[in-house]
Amino acid sequence: MAHQRRSPRRDGAPALERRRFLGYLLAAPTLAVAARLGADLSSDTPAEAAIPSLPGPADLLDLGDALTLAAAPTSGLIGIQLNRDGTVSFAVPRAEVGQGITTTVAMLIAEEMDLPLEKVGVNLADARPELVFNQLTGGSNSVRSLYTPVRTAAAVARRRLLTTAAEQWKLDPATLTARDGMIRSSAGHSASYGSLAEAAASPRTEEVSTTLKAAEEFRIIGTPTTRIDALDAVTGRKQFTMDLAVPDAKPTMICRPPTTSGTVRSVANLGAVAAMPGVTDVVEVSSGVAVRAETFGQCIDAVRALRVDWGPGPVDGESDASVEDKLRAATLPMAVPPVLTKTIDAEFVFNFASNSALETNCAIADVRADRAEIWSGLKSPIVAQEQIAAMLGLPIPAVTVHVVTGGGSFGRKLFGDAALEAAEVSQAMGKPVKLMWHRADDSRHGRTHPMSISRIRVNHALGNVVSYEQRHTSVTTDFGHGLGEILTAVAAKLPVGDVGFSQTVFLLSQSNPYNFGVVTNLLNEVPLKFHTASMRNVYSPNVVCARELVVDQLASAMGQDPLTFRRGFLKDERFRTALDKAAEVGQWGRELPDGMAQGIAFHCEYKSASAVLVEIDCRPETVERPIRDGVGGPRVTRVAAVVDAGLPINPKGLEAQTIGCVNDGIALALTSSLHMDNGLPLEASWDNYFYTRQWNTPPELEVVVLPATTGEPGGAGELAVASAFAATAAAYGRATGTMPTRFPINHGTLSFEPKPTVPPIPDSPVDGLAHTF
């Protein structure tokens, strides 16, 4: 096929040959197109790659690159279908958990097909085992991995529509235009995409090549766009797993042990509980005692009524202090001795934190003798499907796993804990179940972001930083979801495999943006049997907070302002631009009353960069303001957050993600942690676990999404958690005159009365009408 050449540019720049990409026309009744998910769809470079055996530093090959490369060898195609009514349908092999991926993907399709956005329907693909690595939502990688394949498929469709119309009108396709879902000729012909859907269909599947729009032709990419599910969200029509009406799938809950992974020895009153109003079934399962009833209210009553003799779990003796001791003992030594230079040594402790979403762990399961159907919010659905099949003793194709829109994730939905549990319960009861974790269960038995200690040593001399060493020691983070596929999930469960995978994630996600001489970042993990998982931005919030606080100390030691110091040592002009913008928008250095201060921090990851400036109010009258069933404490009053995402596809969505990141960072710095006490968190609900609330959130918050820099979309859904956390901590340190070293800063004070562990869940109040407004 002849290569198209662009017209010479008017400015005299050399004409570039437009890169061609491989896509597919699929045999189907109406036009169907596809592209392969992979690293490179360029027609002159066959896509082939593998997971690198030795990970390079994160600034050469980062985690997102590794995920993208891992996707390349798979043969799974992602396809777009044009319907007779002119709409298109696309099942995205990713989870939508609030990050806006369905909107972004719809924009890519609309852009490349020249179709109005509202004509694009995007839903979530069921688990597709043939996609292997390619159905993991994580690492802020979705846009990066889908950007080219989705546009390629859409461009194939547009081209096919043009050639189909040209054949019908006996015109040269080059004389036709495609715009807003219509093909038009200069002679006055017009046809809607829908009217061409059948004629454009291919009788056989064939490979074709196409070009993609150049950035200067974009009309939708880069335009602030409202989410495609916004109307459903504000009218209550948006459906989550527990909103689905699956026949006979009745409310089901589990009575859980008083310590992590405790086991059922015996149940004293199983028959009596089974006879309670509304209760249909009570059975022992691996995680506790399952109860199924007509309503969740009756499940709660039944769970509370169960009298269970519990056996111990694997971490019953572990509390905050014992875990901290183990971490400190396991910290790797520094390599560079403090000689002939000035040295800063620092240590920071980051407590357990919860990645609990507002939607608790939940799933619907309908397990029959020869098949099973599962509905759940899953970021790694292939692993869930294969684990469920293995557990039930069914072949993988007999297990259908539907990915449902999730009510938040923050790392929690990487694991299909509730889906596995629902399948087990459904099989045990022989009935469909709608399984939901109580909030107390979600907080205490759900996965946590584990405690870690970060030690840093910096040697500096004559205004230069000679060496920077960071030793991050953490309770093992479970990456058992692997790269989204059962083989890697199994490998990650092996002692060597797990350490190897954690190290890979750590090394591929941590890069130091400063010219600090000899830099080493090392992770050491202590394997304790807590339920752990990644939390938004994974290692970076803790690692970067520690680093940025030491950067502030370095600046002080060299007699420099924190902004000036960072400007001088940042490696990249792009980084400086983001930092300068934050300083400008946040009015760095402006005068504030005593007890208030600014902090500034920088973080780059996912081929993106972010800088955040925070102003905090630590005056006693603010810190001590009374809050009912919550905590006040220092108030972040103003935030300027700047994001350089390489190529912003939906600036409105990037802004939304950044707003969320800022509130996460504030929570990690000031208020939210789990207190581990004899094998179980004390926190059992949102009146114990103090995620940022309206009374903590900054009244003034400005997000700046910088214009395109690299031309390639970077990840940004988690990016600003680390920089917001660090900036808040730095501001707090400057306002109080003491650099904080233990996070969150209020962890030392227990600000609530812990709820009982037996029964495991609290009763619902009955005085709701006394609190109306």
């Binding site: 504000v234 209210g297 507002l358 909030r439 940022t692």
Partner: protein, 158 residues
């Protein structure tokens, strides 16, 4: 088991269940009205916020026996104009500010925000930052600043 009759979103309904079953489960599990969400069951997260006779309340903490035939519950599904389908100004501003991320808490947020503005207006004043700080609905996606912006602009149209 006993019958309980009340109004939901303009329709009279009767459910046969235990007196103590909380209204959240009556709405969700027995009537299939799923706009109000479960987030804690102890009147803390406020994800289930709906209106009872025009005032914000949390059905997770009210037994079905506490409402009678003349009581009217309004959930997110019933806040738009029933005849024209016109959205409530709060819903419109939620769209204009693209507030929702995952969307799970948003029905409760909107219902709380409407009541909060009505409360301020009934007291003859505009909504303030202090009022906004008092909204207890948790949003784990952290959409708070867009909520504040949307409530302020909607208040001017209510």
């Amino acid at each position: 088991m006993s019958p309980h009759t009340f109004l939901v979103n303009g329709t009279r309904v009767t459910v046969d269940t235990d007196d103590k079953v909380r209204l959240l489960w009556v709405l969700r599990d027995l009537l299939g009205i799923t706009g109000p969400k479960y987030g804690c069951g102890i009147n803390v997260c406020k994800a289930c916020t709906s209106h009872l006779n025009g005032k914000a309340f949390n059905p997770c903490s009210v037994p079905v026996s506490a409402v009678g035939p003349d009581d009217e519950i309004t959930t997110i599904e019933g806040i738009a104009d029933a005849e024209s389908g016109t959205l409530h100004p709060m819903q419109e501003e939620w769209l204009a500010h693209d507030v929702a991320q995952c969307g799970y808490c948003q029905p409760g947020q909107i219902m709380a925000a409407i009541a909060k503005v009505n409360q301020a207006h009934a007291q003859g004043r505009e909504i303030s930052d202090t009022d906004l700080d008092e909204i207890r609905n948790i949003c784990r996606c952290g959409t708070y600043s867009r909520i504040r912006d949307a409530v302020k602009t909607a208040a001017a149209k209510m």
